[in-house]
């Protein structure tokens, strides 16, 4: 039975809210520990009702910019290349909605960060940590959404092997020792292009690249 749009929105907000709880209880502690030595005064909190804001932006952007494009596509089955492209658009849209809101707030000594780069107390590393942390949330939520998709997506993407792949580096030579992994690269692209209106293009392309490479390795 097809769910109503209203029910879909309720379900999606529930999904986002549960993932935020998971991220808060597990991933944020890891991030805090990693930064503790160098940045001991930083604390990390989720904004109140941020899941509602993300969900609202997601459905707005999806209906206004994504849905018309999806409806123009000819294929809807999971084995259709066009349907896969549509899915990547949705994943990018989810990431974008998170980065508009940036649900995770980083506080320095209990105070909000300074975002004005002309201010003498502005610290770009603090802002970078906040952007990267939110970008990590954006990717992981989109990934969780992908791996909750029915049939093949759930089978393929709900496994540790995929994470091993995401944490590996591209096999190109010569390769510098500090090459980014696929995952690092994707998160960096989300974080550093957050104010660019072209963010959806970047993340759509990187999703496409990530999953095509994985598909190639998996099935070739």
């Amino acid at each position: 039975m097809e769910l109503s749009d209203e029910q879909k929105k309720i379900n999606r907000e529930d999904f986002i809210s549960k993932y935020f709880d998971f991220f808060h209880s597990s991933e944020l502690a890891i991030i805090r520990d990693r930064n503790l030595k160098e940045y001991p005064n930083l604390t990390y909190l989720f904004g109140e009702k941020s899941e509602q804001k993300v969900n609202r932006n997601y459905w707005f952007i999806r209906s206004r910019f994504i849905q018309p494009i999806i409806h123009q596509g000819s294929g809807k089955s999971e084995d259709s290349t066009l349907a896969k492209v549509d899915l990547y658009k949705i994943l990018s849209c989810l990431e974008y909605s998170i980065m508009i809101v940036k649900p995770i707030v980083v506080l320095n000594n209990g105070e909000p960060l300074i975002y004005d780069d002309t201010d003498a107390n502005y610290d770009p590393k603090h802002v970078e940590i906040e952007n990267i942390t939110n970008a990590q949330l954006a990717f992981q939520l989109a990934y969780a959404f992908l791996s909750s998709w029915e049939k093949d997506y759930k089978r393929i993407f709900s496994n540790d092997e995929m994470w091993t792949f995401l944490n590996s580096t591209e096999e190109i030579y010569p390769r510098s020792e500090d090459s980014m992994s696929y995952l690092d690269e994707h998160i960096a692209i989300i974080a550093y292009s957050v104010k660019a209106s072209a963010l959806p293009i970047f993340t759509n392309s990187t999703w496409w690249r990530l999953l095509c490479i994985y598909g190639y390795k998996q099935f070739s």
Binding site: L45, G47, E48, S50, I100, I129, Q136, E185, A196, I201
Partner: protein, 72 residues
Amino acid sequence: MRYPEEKFELLTYRRSLSIDQIVSELEGFSVLENNEVDSSKAFKPTFQFKSMISELNTEIKYHTSINSRQLV
């Protein structure tokens, strides 16, 4: 514990673009309409992808050299 909604609203405004501003700038999505799919090229980076990445390359390299790897 959550960051209070009122303060969060203010912070969202200060940190990023508002949703109204985003809407006016979302022309980027229209480019996705032209996302041509050629299965024979699906596993190779497209020219469009390469050119987009090259624009970000300098910035990514800079941030990689700082500490982004430690954060993810």
